[in-house]
């Protein structure tokens, strides 16, 4: 069931972005802490580019923390000004295009997942039971969510580099879903290069390449095949039915690793060419990856901070190994919760990916609460900021409290989506055994 008017709605979203970029005037979005962080701010990028032009290292101060590649690609654009528009108009136009591409890739990913889902349900003979009740085109929904998500729009218009990071993650997932090892490797290397956190996505990517897109648990297939073999006494069928259960294919994984090495070298080479002009590679690794905390506890904080993310990787991978794409979604959500310098751009990405599982998560709980919670928090945050910075009647804790509420909401979203996905799998098993 495809969504009617998909293209008109998508075009409207792009048009809306363009209107905001071209005629919105200066919305001061780039100075909002929720939108652009020190890592993604394009104003810092412009500053870094200026330093580079003045043959100073952009990494020597604490001004620029982003990637040297972005400096190379976007830097020249930050210099160009157009009269009557805001400062970084060309970059913003690029971000609009980037958002559109990302949305289209999400849609394509959704298509792949849909095909896989239909095939699996057919092989389980559950098409009638499950598919007929809820069968929306998840790809369309997901890409529309991504395009119309106010946060994605704000990120895009507010000129920060998050759309590019998001695009790389989407490229990686799309590449892995359609088993295009070079593309997946490119996305992976670029995403990791741009913000490091997507590194943990290697797990779902390898699972995707090895097992193929999301499927019900292997146990369900086994039950199905055993019940089938009960009816068909002949043993000949057994081998054929067990073929339904996906085997881990080493070949695409191997390709992926080879390509990954290739891209890594390429990116490093490119970066170091840039860096030869601007400073040593060493410096980049010193300055660019690490957030600034107290000097004494710097390493301790870094470990504790980032360990939180790593802790989640393995248990989730074991529990959800049959649904690698969903696993990737959960990982991006966890990264968005726990990363240093989170922004609404990260949330825009995982909310877009959430749409890919519209069929599976139809029974999710607390959606009403989550929806209005997200709206409330995103309105509360500027108000609290205003109270703290401009009026002086509040203090930093007010703003911090909003951050806590936001994290709670995200946690509820992750927990609920995982549990409803597990519930969905259980339901499939019940349907098969029945």
């Amino acid at each position: 069931m495809a969504i009617r008017n998909f293209w008109s709605m998508a075009a409207a979203a792009v048009g809306f972005r363009l209107v905001l970029v071209l005629f919105g005037g200066d919305l001061h979005l780039a100075s909002r802490p929720e939108v652009s962080t020190p890592l993604t701010s394009i104003r810092r990028l412009a500053e870094g580019y200026w330093l580079k032009q003045a043959s100073m290292s952009p990494y020597s101060g604490s001004m620029y923390h982003g990637s040297p590649l972005l400096l190379l690609v976007l830097g020249p654009l930050t210099n160009k000004r157009s009269v009557g528009h805001h400062d970084h108009i060309y970059c913003s136009l690029i971000f609009v295009a980037v958002d559109f591409i990302a949305a289209m890739l999400i849609r394509a990913t959704g298509r792949r997942l849909q095909i896989a889902r239909n095939r699996n349900l057919k092989s389980l003979e559950l098409t009638e039971a499950v598919s007929n009740s809820v069968n929306v085109s998840a790809g369309d929904i997901a890409s529309l969510i991504y395009l119309w998500n106010p946060w994605a729009i704000v990120t895009c218009v507010g000129s920060c580099t998050s759309p590019i990071e998001n695009l790389m993650v989407v490229i990686m997932i799309y590449g892995a879903c359609s088993r295009l090892a070079p593309l997946a490797a490119f996305g992976y290397v670029m995403a990791t290069h741009l913000s490091l956190y997507p590194a943990i996505l290697i797990v779902p990517i390898i699972l995707l390449l090895g097992y193929g897109p999301d499927a019900p648990p292997t146990k369900v297939f086994r039950i199905k095949s055993s019940s089938a073999s009960k009816t068909d006494v002949s043993d000949n069928d057994k081998s054929s039915s067990s073929r339904d259960v996906q085997q881990f294919l080493w070949k695409p994984v191997f390709h992926f690793i080879l390509w990954m090495l290739f891209w890594t070298f390429y990116v490093l080479l490119l970066s170091s060419i840039v860096l030869n002009k601007v400073g040593g590679l060493q410096e980049m690794f010193e300055k660019y990856f690490f957030a600034e905390v107290f000097d004494f506890f710097r390493s301790f904080f870094l470990i504790v901070f980032n360990m939180n993310i790593v802790f989640m990787v393995l248990p989730l991978a074991i529990r959800l190994k049959h649904r690698p794409c969903f696993l990737a979604f959960i990982y991006t959500a966890i990264v968005a919760i726990l990363k240093s310098y989170p922004s609404v751009g990260d949330s825009a990405l995982y909310l877009g990916l959430l749409g890919l599982f519209a069929n599976e998560l139809a029974e999710m709980q607390f959606t009403f609460f989550l929806f209005f919670g997200y709206i409330g928090v995103s309105l509360l945050s500027p108000v609290m900021h205003n109270l703290w910075i401009w009026r002086g009647t509040g203090n930093a804790n007010f703003y911090f409290a909003t951050g806590l509420a936001y994290t709670c909401l995200q946690t509820v979203l992750v927990v609920e989506s995982v549990s409803s996905m597990i519930k969905h799998d259980r339901k499939l098993r019940l349907l098969v055994t029945a």
């Binding site: 139809a362 509360l380 002086g392 019940l430």
Partner: protein
Amino acid sequence: MASSAKEEAKPKPRLIVRLGVFLASHHILFSAVCCTAGIIALLFLPSLAKNTYLSENALIPGSANTLFSTEDVQEANRFAKGIEAAIGESRGGTTEIPKFIAQQTKNLGAEVYYHEFLPDSKCFHPLKFFTSMTNNMAAKPNGTYTNFGINTVGIIRAPRGDGKEAIVLVTPYNSQKVTPNELLSLALGFSVFSLLSRAAWLSKDIVWLSADSQFGEYSAVSSWLNQYHNPMFLSHPVNLDTKIYGANQILYKPDGTAEKAELMAFKRAGTMAAALIFKVGETRKYGDRDSVTMYAEASNGQMPNLDLLNVVHYLAVNRQGFRVNVETFNSLLSSSWLRVIAEVFQNLGSLLRKINPDWKLDVTVPDYVEGTANLASSMYNQALGVPTGSHGAFRDYQVDAVSLEFAPAFHLKNENAKSSFLLRGGRLTEGVVRSVNNLLEKFHQSFFLYFLTAPSKFISVGVYMIPFALLLAPLPIVAAALAGGSKTKGKLEDECKTKGNADDLQMEGGSWKWLKSARVLLIIQFWAVLVSLLPYYISQIPGAMPIQYAVIWAVLSITILIILYAMFGSPSRAGVEWKLLKATMITSITIGMGLMSIINFATAQLGALILIPMCLFSRPLRAQLEMNFLPRTVLLASNILLTVLGFPPAAFLIMKGLSKGSWTVDIVGDFWLWMEFLWEWSSATYLYVFLVHLPCWLLCIHVLLHPCYQPESKMKQE
């Protein structure tokens, strides 16, 4: 079999869950109780007011002997005579007074300069309070102006200071027509300034701004503050300034270009620690004590730190023998129904005191009535979000400021009484300056969020939040009950089906059913945004009457609503369950009210009194048919009454009509004027009315007129 065993072994849910379920199942009773409790708590507020106290020890008001003496009074008299002479000489020219003030100030050895400004043009900027104070000088059109105001600013550099902080004294006067009162306040300002120029103890610079209030005090002060805080670094010199100055050569001697440059250069002192605006008003009551009225409400319900008011109050009452007032609603003071309520509360308070002697809630009837009148005025001024004087301009830059309006109790020709008044007024001002001068930090110790029930009594945020919290408390419960109620049915079906045969298990996506009602909400919010932006375009139409503007506004709003419904489908046809629609409405006002209570508490409090009962007790008229006669009529009456009151123009109309006693069509035009007043002052109340109140009212109408079709699934089941 297995499932039934599972059910038996199912542990009891946690206490908090059970409590939530219990509350949700009794949500009607709970919301009625909470609303009543909220209104009672609101009425209790005057009895809960506490006496003010000085929080910041560094202030130590009144600890030093005042230096302001009769000599300074003579100086003031001399200054007043000088100005009178200058006015006589000028014969209608407006530049003589600034010139005279500048000359006198210069003679004291202070720095002095003129600040010239244009009157504020009327602008539609409802969101200005939300952004930083941007420089709006550049937005003004080009052209030559003959009509502009001149502020004269004198600065004393503190002998013991580092020039990083300053105290601002403001005396507004109308340069077009100086009244004897204004003359007196200028004289008072000058004499204090001259005393301070000789003070050795000063550690903060003193800035004396004699603000030209011919376009209103506020615009004079705010334009000076704007230039003070937003230095203009323009690549090309501003034409505007040269044009103003070119038009007026009288101010400066034709040859004195160097002197002119010196007088025109904008000079600054440090960050402002506090500002004191004082003016002498009309004589009120002969023979009584001289009184001072404190005005403190700045834009959007912001108040200066309570310590500043405390210092003023302490010095005025205990040292200089003034009577201190705050603004009040005089009509409430004489109302008989308030007296009845006061008696009830007095009895209630004394009863409570018998139960526990620590509860000091019994206030006498006159105290309660006066407290209520002051509290109502304080709340109203905060809720309106429009500053009550030029102190509001300071608060926009986070400077604590208070306006003092002296009301002398003598005739202004009585020289003796005038001298005594000047002496005490000067000492009061000197004392306040001295206290603020002692400060080492910005005001931060005392409250920023409070209501005043008397000059020395306040209700802090912790207390006045209780009624609002009580009103707001049932909202999430009711929303949960309604949203959950329409879901449980589906869930039960699911459960029984999984228990039995899973063959025809259907996933209805029950938990996403609210999406439809969210869509309705989004459409209506979008409409509300459009309606709130319309005045920007409508006010561009030149030369129409307010009533015409108002009618255009209404017609356009309705047209837009119809167009939106035609485009996206009207809510009545969308097949949304009314319970979900109501749940969505309640959630949206929970968010709206919560946000508004942070931006401007008083608005949220007053809005909640109408909006929350209106939402909580709304029920489709068709669904009411099933009820018994008595509850039905009560519900119907309350629904209709609240809905009428909840419509902003209707509420305004009724209020105006009751206060004026006349019901003419002009009231529609008055509504436009009132809205214009709100957005010109960039009051958040405007946004509240159109982005929270109006959409909620419309949703409420939709709930009331809901067709209440039986849901299809239910019909099938039956």
